[in-house]
């Protein structure tokens, strides 16, 4: 996977966030200090795998250091925990998406590394899309 500790790669994948036990805010990725109230009382929390689309676009030319295909979708998905997450989208045509539509977490292939291993990352897909 593109980085350990960001998500679980399983049948029911999850983003690995944390929750502050003082101010109750959720964060992603996982932090040992709350980025909002600065308390050190954070607990690991898996985030909901389904949310709604809040903003989206598509990147048409590979940015520096990028190892995947273009074009690709990038957007913000709002999760029920009161958190908005920056994410890849499986849909790279902005015209095919609408604000507020349901989106679900997927673990998707990103590229094949120099040793021939498939590298996966997290992305959100419209609910119901195969």
């Amino acid at each position: 996977m593109v980085k350990e500790g960001l998500f679980t790669d399983s049948e029911a994948p999850e983003l690995l966030g944390s929750r502050c036990t003082i101010c109750a805010a959720h964060h992603f990725p996982r932090h040992d200090t709350c980025p909002y109230c600065s308390s050190e009382e954070t607990q690991p929390a898996a985030l909901s795998a389904v949310g709604v689309l809040w903003a989206w676009t598509a990147v048409t030319a590979a940015p520096p250091g990028y190892r995947g295909e273009t074009p690709y979708g990038v957007g913000v998905v709002e999760l029920p925990e009161g958190i908005r997450v920056i994410t890849r989208l499986t849909e790279s045509d902005p015209a095919a998406l609408v604000a507020g539509q349901s989106m679900e977490l997927r673990i998707v292939p990103l590229h094949t590394d120099d040793e021939g291993n498939e590298v996966v990352t997290f992305a959100f897909a419209p609910v119901g899309e195969s």
Binding site: V2, K3, W56, T57, V59, P63, G68, V74, I86, R88
Partner: protein
């Protein structure tokens, strides 16, 4: 802030200059600013140099070339607001009585194409989550939803600024452009087309600051630095220039630009209604419109209407980016904020010829970018 004057300004044009080094450009801008200020070797007690890609001791290399060292020389990196940060430090030191005269300059040679920033972790780049134009595009889309900004509005911002830039000999693009040409350029990240994005490039700018009561050697009208503020972001907004991976479902967190503007207006004892001319961050066309709202030039949601009114064009009530903005000049990070200040000083002195804003007395400069860093500078004459 009382008692700080800008006594000299200088620029190396913004553009692409193969064979001209970061040091060369800095030397050129610094020499011009010192000459205008009537300041010679030994005449300033500190120097601050804004740069993001210049490398170790960029400021020292410039001043060594001029044989003017011995004083503290500090490089300042604050992303797009590096020059604003340098100005804040210099002005604060003068106000505190530490120095009488301080040199502030910025110089930069940016890599070509989408800016690669060490700000991001390698995995973010690898996964495609470090694409700067994508963040611009997401902000543009939210602005479209909140303020009714259309692609035509975005194209009109480019047309306006490029028209302003036609008389700026220091700009990278000095040719006008039509809305049709903007909309015919390729889509980089929907809704942003290529010509709606500024070009990272090269250039330098310099200003000399002095205690107001000692600003007597200047060859030109001294301009008062009423305030110079730098602020970082508060956490919470997923689309903040701090580019976090997550944020809260809370739209009440004020952006860094608003924090800086509020402080700058308070320090100067002025408000948006007092402004005659503005240079604001237009890294992309939507960013200019967002800046109208975040700086308080209009009500939240009012940016498209303000643009449509024609007020922000040269000849309008409050011209924005008379220099042509970054859309015409391009953006050398460490120099861009000071480039705005150079333009505004010349506007307040009445030296701008075809792009002169009539009777300009109060001016505001705004830069915002990675960090987040937001700089707001208010100048008066």
């Amino acid at each position: 802030m009382k008692g700080v004057a800008i006594t000299g300004v200088g620029m190396h044009p913004f553009g692409r200059f193969d064979g001209v080094s970061t040091t060369d450009m800095g030397v050129s801008a610094v020499r011009a600013a010192l000459r205008e200020a009537g300041v010679t070797k030994g005449g300033f007690q500190a120097a601050f140099c804004g740069t993001a890609y210049g490398g170790v001791a960029t400021g020292h290399k410039v001043l060594s070339r001029l044989g003017m060292t011995g004083m503290p020389i500090v490089d300042v990196e604050a992303g797009c607001a590096s020059g604003g940060a340098a100005l804040m430090l210099a002005a604060g030191a003068i106000r505190a009585g530490q120095y009488d005269t301080v040199l502030v300059f910025g110089t930069e040679k940016m890599p070509k194409g989408i800016i690669r920033s060490s700000f991001f972790e390698p995995w973010q780049e690898e996964a495609g989550l470090a694409a700067t134009p994508a963040f611009f595009a997401l902000r543009a889309q939210k602005l479209a939803m909140s303020s009714g900004v259309t692609k035509d509005h975005l194209a009109q911002v480019v047309v306006k600024n490029r028209r302003h830039g036609t008389s700026n000999g220091d700009a990278m693009f000095q040719k006008g452009i039509t809305a049709a040409e903007v909309l015919a350029s390729r889509v980089v990240c929907e809704p942003l087309h290529l010509f709606m994005l500024c070009s990272p490039n090269e250039g330098a700018a310099a200003v000399v600051l002095s205690r107001q009561d000692m600003a007597t050697n200047s060859q030109a009208t001294p301009i008062t630095l009423a305030s110079a503020v730098l602020r970082s972001h508060l956490p919470g907004s997923v689309l903040s220039e701090s580019t976090p991976l997550s944020g809260l479902t809370d739209d009440t967190v004020p952006p860094a630009t608003t924090l800086a503007a509020r402080d700058a207006f308070a320090e100067a004892g002025l408000g948006p209604e007092d402004l005659d001319v503005v240079e604001c961050q237009d890294t992309d066309a939507a960013r200019e419109l967002l800046s109208y709202e975040e700086l308080g030039l209009c009500e939240p949601g009012g940016s498209a209407a303000l643009l449509e009114s024609g007020d922000t064009m040269l000849g309008g009530r409050l011209p924005v980016n008379p220099s042509g903005g970054l859309l015409s000049k391009g953006e050398p990070l460490g120099a861009s904020a000071l480039g705005q200040v150079v333009e505004l000083v010349r506007q307040l002195r009445g030296e701008c010829g075809a792009r002169q804003v009539e009777r300009a007395r109060v001016a505001l400069s705004h830069t915002v970018g990675r960090g987040a860093n937001a700089g707001v500078v208010i100048l008066t004459r």
